[in-house]
Symmetry: none
Subunit: 215 residues, 4 copies
DNA sequence: GATGAATGAGAATTCATTCAT
DNA sequence: GATGAATGAATTCTCATTCAT
């Protein structure tokens, strides 16, 4: 017969601790990578006891997966907002794409630490997380396919195997994400890069040179 | 004279041992990933003593880097063959690209184990290997840029920031490599996928629908 | 006055909690053994908080000792009832023994969980409990000796070192208890076994073959 | 191509280390009991590194089981020697029993440490070792049954359920073992006790008082 | 009195690396 | 040069116990 109030307070306290651990883990994972992070450093940074970690998470992998889930939810959410604005012509399609990319980039910047971990380390943890990462990419590809199919139908995108092309587009995006996080591209160039990449995505290498024909 | 002969023999023997270790490591790294591989398993699989490993390599990272170097050499070699055949028109450009891709895929298939490790694990080992991987990607991008610049100059590729677009193209390639190794795409569809992806790379989403204009 | 009433109520409540803990501990100790039981499981099963345990018992050993005392009291009580009926001849002696054994078995069955713990685990907890267990056995042996001395005096038991023979008889009993709890003997055979064992205890291996003589 | 000699030497070295660990473990287990023994103390006492323990045994349970197997083999061996001397009359039967008991006691004294562990702790480790211990007891009972059946057939043992009576006899033995190891009986009394217990086993409580008859 | 979150000492276990043979 | 037994530092994980609410 503990008072309801008491229970709520306890839960809040526990969640607070969990948050501190997640926050500390996020920072250290991003700094050192999954494999070079040890649990004792996470708890030290979070300012809690070693046992507290194991009260809240099964092991290092578990807290990592928690962070991963947190991120994938955020990213999918920020991308799927696009749904409200189905483009009416090719210009709108292009604009909507640029807007979606910008929104994604914003989310990525806000979660730079998490994204870094996720891009670089997750596939090397174990098979299950590897699968999870790929499934996440495929979810993006499906969303992209949905818009592409619509654009093809309306005639402002080229007839093509929309499945493969969507995967291409998403792959393109993840590649740049990779380069950016690896500091291979300059943050101040982001706008120019977006335009160039979107142009590439829309017009390809050939563009309106009009001289190449499919075999 | 005899001692000279013995020296050579010993060297051969040592190299043989080194080869066995590299072969065993390749297999186990591909199966289990870098971090889940332990040295004792490599030596067991290679059929040599634990100490022999440390006679031939500094540590686990060292043998991994050896394998990585082996692969990057092979891949760059297989790609740079393209240099001999500068395309004379856009059709030849496309054909040369397809040929280059096929050559790459052949090399990748022949070294599937190594490629798997390299794609998934290398960035998670340490900063130095991470850098190495990205430099390798950038080398590819430079090669691609060389051909793209040539094509733009000759007028059978669209004027664009060839640096960024080259990176896009290479990123696209690596994305599909990733999906393929993750068994997200079917091996028997490879030919169709190559064509679709090359079409996407050449014509983009818009293709000759001709209705989108750059802003 | 009111405070007095409250005190009693509180005491009752506390005892209730203690009972629940004892009951839960009894079950889990019997299932998993002393060493494989953790306090957190006892409190979970009892439906009380972790701290409550330490309010009622010093530690795991303490609750175990409580259960042990509970059992030894019950068993000695059930056995010492025999005292009221000193046998008048050897037949009565045998009958009284069988009755005593049956009473004991009944008590054991009613407290199977506790007995299991007591037989198997108590000696492995620490020296003090080990001693306690043996003292308990010796108490039984003393009771048995009392009847045996009486029987020898009356001439319906063989002259012997009644101390050792009593210990033998009690040891015999505990052995079968052990086998039974280890499920090495069939529960449905109990009656037959009692008779066989009592016969063995009374007539030995030789029985009335009458051919063996003491050296 | 390591020389055979080298291999043998290595094996000897390894076995020596294993022996040292077993010896140290035996001592500490007997002193502190299974559950209060920690691996680090075993290795300290054996004068080897912590890792060496885990090269030779899976865990604490494993080295314990090794010791247990060592003991059960010794004991069964020392008992089964009796086979060579099937008794020709009841006197010889009794004499053979006394000899067997003496041999057992000698083995027990020689392995007092191991026996102590085995009697007190083994059943509290886990279900599998518990089972092993009981199976060991039952093996003894089977050997005893073999001799008893022979004695009944020859007419110098009472007709009875030889299965139960054998178990009784073995249980009796283990009880005294227990008491002796618990220092409840005096070592100098051993001879007298053996005689008393054997008399009890042969003549029972009633002996040749001849007044009790089976119901 | 009751609670259960927090604690941290302590135990088990792993595995890269060394070194005597 | 090759071997593999030995090592112990480093890390994970457990669980009895405390204590603020």
């Amino acid at each position: 017969m503990i008072s309801e109030l008491r229970k709520i307070k306890n839960l809040e306290k526990k969640n607070l601790t969990k948050e501190r651990l997640l926050k500390a883990a996020k920072k250290i994972f991003a700094e050192k990578g999954y494999h070079n992070t040890i649990v004792s450093e996470i708890v030290k940074s979070a300012g809690v006891g070693q046992g507290t970690f194991y009260r809240n998470f099964i092991d290092k992998r578990d807290i990592f997966e928690n962070l991963l889930n947190e991120l994938t939810e955020k990213l999918l959410l920020s991308f799927s907002d696009m749904s409200s604005e189905l483009p009416k012509n090719s210009q709108e399609y292009r604009d909507a794409s640029v807007r979606a990319i910008r929104r994604m980039i914003k989310t990525v910047i806000e979660n730079r630490e998490l994204v870094t971990i996720f891009i670089k380390e997750a596939v090397s943890v174990d098979r299950e997380l590897e699968r999870k990462i790929y499934e996440f990419q495929m979810k993006f590809a499906q969303l992209a396919k949905y818009y592409l199919d619509y654009a093809i139908e309306k005639g402002f995108a080229r007839r093509c195997d929309s499945d493969i092309v969507s995967k291409s587009v998403v792959g393109l995006g993840f590649s740049f994400l990779n380069m950016w996080l690896a500091e291979l591209i300059d943050e101040k160039d982001v706008d120019r890069i977006i335009n160039e990449v979107v142009d590439f995505a829309f017009f390809g290498l050939a563009g309106n040179t009009g001289t190449i024909r499919k075999e």
